[in-house]
């Protein structure tokens, strides 16, 4: 490393430590952002020191969880892994993670689609995982077609293979166009009554005809074929069979005849297992070792995580919201708190709430509180879903106090989830 790069890394690290101490933001991302500003060639210098190269995870939902799963598998192999575990997936977060782990052998990095261009070409990933492309924060990304184009551009610098969700037709189309070797993963089946709302890629990527779905799991994810040109879902190389896939707190899936049980919920988790098994294979780790490492894994940030009486379900977009609604319904929660913020990380536009089928909760909801910066909009959404709102309490701490005496489900956008976790963790630690 050049002197300038060393100075950049060191200055960044000091400021990052200060930011951790003062409680402003995750230290790593601050470290990285500053260091990158001092010396933009730092990323390349740092990346070249990681001997086994990088796995990059991209897509709308499931990046953080998939990266966490794959990191766990590699840790079980006693590999020294660098990962941006805090979800810091812009260039600052990546540089910060690399500064913090100077002796890493391999990197597992989630990368934001819009930031990929300034990160991925430098990393020249040996494996790139595509989880899904769903409608998310459209005020930021504008259109899912643009996100797919970001992924295609990122694929150009992949040295090895793409690991791609076969149940997402838009991704499969992009993977085929990339000309790269592709390993597919997908579900053998899932709940069939999945929401068809917010189905963005329901058209054939080859001829544009509407796709026919034999099964629809969530949005446009499912088993599809084109009657226009005969194009269809590729048979997955890694098929994930749901053995027990209900509710927010536990799933069991069978992959290549090995069962894995996770202490987390949802269709997303099942997909993430498939992505992890497929990517681990590319790194020379077989499904038995992967399954063994994943067994018993608990939920990451707000993905069916339980704190006190609450089960926390992150709702960033219609697909995540519809998945959360299904989990609340399957677990039969009657106390429900929904918290909607519209800060930058959440997306300024809350229109997507109307693409979540809250109507499904009509049968189970008995006590409902809405909260967050956009509590009023959420109350209107529920009113038109036929669900009576008991309390509108924009303050999240106070809203939690209203529900926490008994088991409750908590559906929330990203920053609302951050606020709630801080509050819940504080309380449960003080009680313990």
């Amino acid at each position: 490393m050049s002197l300038r790069q060393i100075v950049a890394a060191r200055t960044g690290r000091l400021v990052g430590a200060a930011s951790r101490l003062t409680g402003f933001g995750a230290g790593e991302a601050v470290t990285g952002k500053l260091a990158h500003a001092i010396d933009p060639t730092l990323l390349s210098a740092l990346a070249s020191r990681v001997p086994e190269g990088f796995v990059v995870v991209m897509g709308t939902n499931g990046k953080t969880s998939t990266a966490a799963m794959l990191t766990r598998v590699l840790n079980a192999q006693r590999r020294n892994v660098v990962t941006n575990a805090t979800g810091a997936n812009l260039v600052g977060g990546v540089v910060g993670a690399l500064i913090k782990h100077p002796h890493a052998e391999i990197g597992i990095l989630e990368v934001d689609e819009a930031a990929a261009r300034s990160i991925v070409p430098t990393l020249e990933p040996r494996v790139m995982i595509w989880t899904n492309v769903l409608r998310d924060q459209l005020d930021r990304y504008f259109e899912t077609d643009i996100v797919i184009r970001h992924l295609e551009n990122a694929a150009v610098s992949v040295r090895g293979s793409l690991v791609v969700n076969a149940d997402d037709p838009g991704l499969v189309g992009a993977a085929e166009r990339s000309g790269k070797p592709v390993v597919y993963y997908g579900l053998t089946h899932a709940r069939d009554e999945g929401s068809a709302l917010a189905a963005d890629s329901a058209n054939c990527p080859r001829c544009g005809a509407p796709l026919r779905y034999d099964a629809r799991y969530l949005g446009h994810l499912g088993r599809y074929a084109c009657d226009g040109c005969g194009w269809k879902r590729p048979e997955p190389d890694v098929a994930v069979e749901p053995v027990e896939l209900r509710g927010a707190q536990r799933i069991t899936v069978r992959v290549c005849e090995v069962d894995v049980t996770l202490q987390t919920g949802g269709l997303g988790a099942a997909y993430n297992v498939g992505a992890t098994v497929a990517a681990a294979r590319q790194l020379g780790i077989d499904e038995h070792a992967t399954a063994k490492a994943l067994e018993g894994m608990t939920a990451v940030f707000g993905r069916g995580e339980t704190i006190g009486n609450g089960v926390l379900l992150l709702m960033k977009n219609p697909a995540g919201g519809n998945e959360g609604v299904m989990q609340v319904l399957e677990d039969g929660y009657s106390r429900i708190l929904v918290a909607i913020n519209d800060r930058h990380a959440d997306g300024l536009d809350v229109s997507w709430l109307w693409d979540v089928e809250f109507e499904r909760l009509k049968t189970t909801a008995r006590y409902v509180v809405v909260s967050g910066d956009r509590a009023q909009d959420m109350a209107v959404r529920l009113k038109y879903a036929g669900i009576a709102v008991d309390v509108i309490e924009p303050d999240i701490k106070r809203a939690l106090d209203l529900v926490r005496a008994e088991p409750f489900a908590f559906l929330a956008t990203y920053t609302a989830m951050l606020d709630a976790r801080a509050s819940l963790k504080g309380k449960s630690e003080r009680l313990a």
């Binding site: 005020d139 259109e143 709302l197 300024l348 229109s351 109307w354 209107v380 038109y384 509108i392």
Partner: protein
């Protein structure tokens, strides 16, 4: 009454279906019998619609559906002439004009749209004759200019509107109404929803409890006022 929702699958990127849910529920709460017909690709337009709604889609979705919509344009025009209300938001609103750059539109509203340099994006509010203050979220790259046949739906009080320069927002021409306030604009503007319903069924509507809707409306107004550009 019959509400027809045009291509909910392709033209519904931002929770646009909220408008249809809102109209149908508010009619039902007043004891009006409502059916909602979705028109999907390959379907024909029912000839007994009282209200036709069209949302906004992604570029590719709009390209896909454009030929079919263009072929349907005369029937939509006839429905409006017969008294049906046609309501379109965002991409649907643009499609009703004569063109977007060189791509022909349905030609049912006297306006045209050209691609702009940046995206008009954020919370907005307008003052209208049909429903007083309307709040919403604008998110579009096009610049729309009205011809003499169309009147603006309202004047921008916060935000940028049709083109960011002339202070207008949306358009009205006879029974055809369009706005850039995208996605679920009606649930936060109950007076606007009721105005459309009343025009569609040609009856006065009795007032209903709008406490929640007005709280969301007020919040929208606050957010629009805070917007910096």
């Amino acid at each position: 009454m019959k509400i027809v929702h045009l291509y909910p699958d392709l033209l519904g990127t931002y929770g646009d279906r909220g408008n249809v849910i809102c109209l149908a529920e508010r009619a039902r709460w007043r004891g009006i019998d409502v059916t909602v017909d979705a028109v999907e690709r390959g379907d024909t337009l029912p000839n007994d619609a009282d209200l036709i709604f069209m949302g906004g889609g992604q570029d590719r979705a709009q390209e896909l559906i454009a030929p079919e919509l263009l072929a349907m344009a005369p029937r939509i025009g006839e429905a409006a002439a017969r008294g049906a209300i046609v309501f379109a938001v965002c991409g649907g609103y643009q499609l009703l004009g004569s063109r977007y750059d060189e791509v022909p539109g349905l030609g049912l509203l006297d306006l045209y749209t050209e691609a702009g340099d940046d995206r008009i994006l954020g919370n907005a509010s307008i003052d209208t004759a049909v429903a007083g203050t309307i709040v919403g979220f604008e998110n579009h790259g096009g610049r729309t200019y009205l011809g003499p046949g169309a009147k603006p739906l309202g004047r921008i009080t916060a935000g940028r509107g049709n083109n960011g320069t002339d202070g207008t927002e949306g358009a009205i021409q006879g029974n055809i109404i369009g706005t850039y306030l995208h996605g679920p604009v009606l649930p936060r503007n109950p007076a606007f929803a009721d105005a459309l319903l009343a025009l569609a069924i040609r009856e006065e509507l009795r007032p209903i409890d709008d406490v929640l809707e007005m709280a969301a409306h007020e919040r929208g107004l606050e957010l629009a006022r805070k917007r910096r550009h």
